[in-house]
C-alpha cells in the first residue's frame, strides 16, 4: 500500500516528463506519496527511486533534508506554531504553552486519538500578522489563545474539513499542461541550438 497507487503512478509519470532530468521530480513525487499515505515509508522511497531512476538511498537522502517529509505517522492535523522573531515579539511562546495545555501534548507530540500533532515552526512569511500558525500548511493569522481553542474544537468536531484537508494533502489544485500546448523538454545534452525567437526580429 505504500507504493504509489495506479492513479498516482500515472500522475507521477506526467510530472517526471516535465523535467529535463527525471530526478528533478523527486520532491513533488515525495509530496504525492505523502498525500497518499500520510507519511513517507520505506516502500514508497523504493518505488520513487524506481520511477526516477535512482536508488532508494538517494531518495532517502533527499527526503530527510526537508522538514515537511515525515517518516512516522503524524496527526490528521499538523499544527505548526511560528516562533521566529516577529511572532515571538507578539506572544508566540504564550500561544505555544496554551496549545500544549489545550492538547495535552508537548511541542513535537501527537495526541493519543491521532487527531493533532503540535510542532514549533520557523518563520511562516506572514510576519505582519503575528502570531501565526498553520494547520496542514494553511494559515491562521493574529491568533489569540481563544482563537486557538475554537480552532482546535472545530477541527475536532470535523467542522473545518473543507478548509483544512488531512495532513499530506498540499495544494488542492494541480498543474495540468494540455498536450497540444506543451513545448515539452529534452535532456540539456540533446540541445545545442539557440531558441527560435532569438533571431534579432520581433516574435509577433
Amino acid at each position: 500500500m505504500s507504493r504509489l497507487n495506479e492513479t498516482n503512478t500515472k500522475s507521477a509519470r506526467e510530472i517526471i516528463a516535465r523535467y529535463p532530468r527525471p530526478k528533478s521530480a523527486l520532491i513533488p513525487l515525495l509530496h504525492l506519496s505523502q498525500e497518499q499515505n500520510g507519511y513517507i515509508t520505506r516502500e514508497a522511497m523504493q518505488h520513487l527511486g524506481e520511477l526516477v531512476g535512482v536508488t532508494s538511498a538517494e531518495v532517502y537522502g533527499t527526503a530527510t533534508f526537508y522538514e515537511m517529509f515525515k517518516f512516522e505517522p503524524v496527526g490528521k492535523y499538523l499544527i505548526n506554531i511560528c516562533g521566529t522573531l516577529s511572532c515571538a515579539l507578539m506572544g508566540a511562546n504564550e500561544l505555544m504553552h496554551h496549545a500544549e495545555k489545550k492538547l495535552g501534548v508537548n511541542a513535537g507530540g501527537t495526541t493519543s486519538d491521532g487527531m493533532f500533532t503540535l510542532a514549533h515552526a520557523e518563520c511562516q512569511a506572514a510576519c505582519t500578522e503575528a502570531p501565526t500558525l498553520q494547520v496542514n500548511y494553511r494559515y491562521r493569522l493574529r491568533v489569540t489563545p481563544t482563537d486557538l481553542d475554537n480552532l482546535i474544537d472545530n477541527l475536532r468536531d470535523n467542522k473545518l474539513k473543507d478548509e483544512f484537508p488531512p495532513h499530506g494533502v498540499l495544494a488542492k489544485v494541480q498543474q495540468v499542461i494540455p498536450a497540444d500546448r506543451a513545448v515539452g523538454t529534452k535532456d540539456p545534452e540533446d540541445v545545442n541550438e539557440s531558441p527560435a525567437w532569438l533571431d534579432g526580429k520581433a516574435a509577433l
Binding site: 533527499t62 521566529t84 503575528a130 527560435a196
Partner: protein, 466 residues
C-alpha cells in the same frame, strides 16, 4: 489614504505609485478574467512586438534591482550567461522564508498572472527555454493559486507552444519545495530542483548564470523582481525610472512587523522613504504600540545587523544602508519596543539560523549551534561572564574581522560597512551571528545583568605535575 482589504491580509494600500500591487484591491485579482480587464498580458504583447535583445536592453536601462536580498540588477544578471551555450533556464525563487519577510507569498496568492507574465518576458528577453517556478513547500494556497493561474494561461494560449501565435514558445513548470530555509540561496535552490539535498554549491562559479541547473546557464530571479516586468514593458523605461531614485528606481514591497501600531506590507517608493516614515508615518505603521519608545529594529530581514533609533532617518536605499552597517535584504523591518527582552529576541533568530544550517560548512553547522546553546544558557540565567566573550569568539570563526554594525554615538561606535567576511559558502552562517553581535554590542548591559561571574577553575596541563 490608507486602505486595507480582507482578501489581502497585511497589505496596506496608500496614495503612492503602485507597480506590483495595483490589482490587490480586487477580491478576484488572481483570476485571468480580472487580469485581462486590468492591462493583463499587455506587457507581454509589447515585448513580443520587439526583438528580444531590445527587451533585454530595456530591463537593463531601467535598472530593475533584484528584490530577493542581494539587490543585483536583473538585466545585468541575465547578461552573465556565456555566449552560445544552450539551453538556458529560468528558475523563479518563490522560497520566501527570511524572518520578517512577507511579500512574495502575497504576490503569488493575489496576482499569479502578473508573475507568469513576468516569467514570460524574462524568458523571451534572455532566451531562456524553460521556466521552473519554485514555491516554498509550506504555502499551500500560493501553490493552488499559481497552479490554477498556470492552467488558465495555458488554455488561453499565453504559455506553451507559439505564445499568442508568435514564434516564442516556453513551458512554465510549477515546482514546490518541502521546507528548508537555505534553499532560498540560489545554488541550493538549483540543487533542490535537481532532486538533491538543498545545500549551496561551492563557489566559484559565483553565478548560476554561468553554470546552474544541470550545469547549464540558469537565471534565478526573485518573485517580486519578475512581477515588476509586466508594468515596465507596458509603461516603458521612462515611466519606471521616474519613480524612486537613480540608483534604486521603481518601488519595493516592505513588511513592517513587531511592536508597531499597525504592522503591514506596503509598496513604497524606492530609495526615498525613510525608516522613520515606515515605523512612525501615519500612512505606514503609525508608531510604536501603546506609545512606547523604540528600542531597536532589524532593517532587512533576520540576517541583517540591527539598527537603533539613531538610524531612523536613513532612507530605504541600499547605497546608504550598506555603509551604515546593515542591509535592506528582502524588505523586512522588525520593530522592537522598550519592553523587549533583547537577549531572548536575539535567541529566536540565532535559533532559526542554527536550525536551518544545512550542515555543509563546519563554521555554520557547529558555530551556529554553539551560538544558540551558549545564548540559551545566558537567557535562561545559567550563563557566566565568560560566555559573552565566547559568543564573540565563536562568531569570529564564522565572520572573521570587523563585523558590520551601525554608528552609535552613545557607545562610541563608528559604522563598519556591510557586507561580512565569512568562512562559509553562503549567508546562513553569518546570519546566525548577526543578531548575537548586534544585541551584544548595542545592549551589553542586558546580557551582563543575566550572567553570573565566572569562578575560575584552576587547570593543570596534562603531563605536567602541579
Amino acid at each position: 489614504m490608507s486602505k486595507t482589504y480582507v482578501h489581502a491580509p497585511g497589505f496596506v494600500a496608500g496614495d503612492r505609485p503602485k507597480i506590483v500591487t495595483s490589482r490587490f484591491e480586487f477580491a478576484d485579482s488572481y483570476t485571468l478574467e480580472r487580469y485581462l480587464a486590468t492591462d493583463g498580458y499587455k506587457g507581454l504583447r509589447a515585448a513580443l512586438a520587439r526583438p528580444a535583445n531590445e527587451v533585454h536592453d530595456d530591463v537593463k536601462s531601467a535598472t530593475v534591482l533584484g528584490r530577493g536580498g542581494a539587490g543585483f540588477p536583473a538585466g545585468v544578471k541575465w547578461g552573465l550567461t556565456p555566449q552560445q551555450v544552450w539551453p538556458r533556464y529560468l528558475v523563479v525563487n518563490g522560497d520566501e522564508s527570511e524572518p520578517g519577510t512577507y511579500k512574495d507569498r502575497l504576490l503569488m496568492e493575489r496576482d499569479p498572472h502578473q508573475l507568469i507574465e513576468g516569467c514570460l518576458i524574462a524568458c523571451y528577453a534572455a532566451g531562456l527555454s524553460q521556466c521552473f517556478l519554485y514555491i516554498r513547500g509550506e504555502m499551500a494556497v500560493a501553490q493552488e493559486r499559481m497552479a490554477a493561474a498556470l492552467n488558465e494561461a495555458y488554455v488561453a494560449g499565453y504559455i506553451g507552444k507559439n505564445i499568442l501565435g508568435s514564434k516564442f514558445s516556453v513551458d512554465i513548470i510549477l515546482h514546490w519545495g518541502a521546507g528548508a530555509y537555505v534553499v532560498g540561496e540560489e545554488t541550493a535552490l538549483i540543487e533542490s530542483l535537481e532532486g538533491n539535498r538543498g545545500m549551496p554549491r561551492l563557489k566559484p562559479p559565483f553565478f548560476p548564470a554561468a553554470n546552474g541547473l544541470y550545469g547549464q546557464p540558469t537565471i534565478v530571479n526573485n518573485v517580486e523582481t519578475l512581477a515588476n516586468l509586466p508594468w515596465l514593458l507596458n509603461h516603458g523605461v521612462a515611466a519606471y525610472t521616474a519613480i524612486g531614485t537613480k540608483t534604486s528606481p521603481g518601488t519595493r514591497m516592505v513588511a513592517v512587523s513587531g511592536h508597531v501600531k499597525r504592522p503591514g506590507v506596503y509598496e513604497i517608493v524606492n530609495g526615498t522613504t525613510t525608516f522613520r516614515d515606515l515605523i512612525y508615518g501615519q500612512e505606514f505603521s503609525g508608531g510604536i504600540r501603546d506609545g512606547n519608545a523604540l528600542k531597536a529594529f532589524v532593517p532587512g530581514g533576520g540576517s541583517a545587523p540591527w539598527f537603533t533609533p539613531d538610524q531612523l532617518d536613513l532612507p530605504f536605499e541600499a547605497s546608504q544602508v550598506g555603509p551604515a552597517g546593515s542591509m535592506l535584504g528582502s524588505g523586512a523591518v522588525m520593530v522592537m519596543d522598550e519592553t523587549t527582552d533583547i537577549p531572548a529576541a536575539a535567541l529566536t533568530l540565532t535559533h532559526f539560523y542554527a536550525h536551518e544550517s544545512c550542515g555543509k560548512c563546519t563554521p555554520c553547522r557547529e558555530g551556529g549551534t554553539w551560538l544558540e546553546r551558549i545564548l540559551r544558557r545566558v537567557v535562561d540565567g545559567d550563563g557566566t561572564d565568560a560566555d559573552l566573550q565566547q559568543l564573540l569568539e565563536v562568531g569570529a570563526m564564522i565572520c572573521p574581522g570587523a563585523f558590520p554594525h551601525a554608528a552609535n554615538e552613545e557607545l562610541g561606535l563608528k559604522a563598519v560597512p556591510f557586507p561580512y567576511k565569512m568562512t562559509t559558502i553562503c549567508f546562513v552562517g553569518p546570519s546566525a551571528f548577526a543578531p548575537v553581535h548586534s544585541a551584544l554590542t548595542l545592549f551589553r548591559s542586558e546580557f551582563e545583568a543575566r550572567v553570573k561571574k565566572r569562578v575560575n577553575i584552576p587547570v593543570t596541563a596534562v603531563g605536567v605535575s602541579a
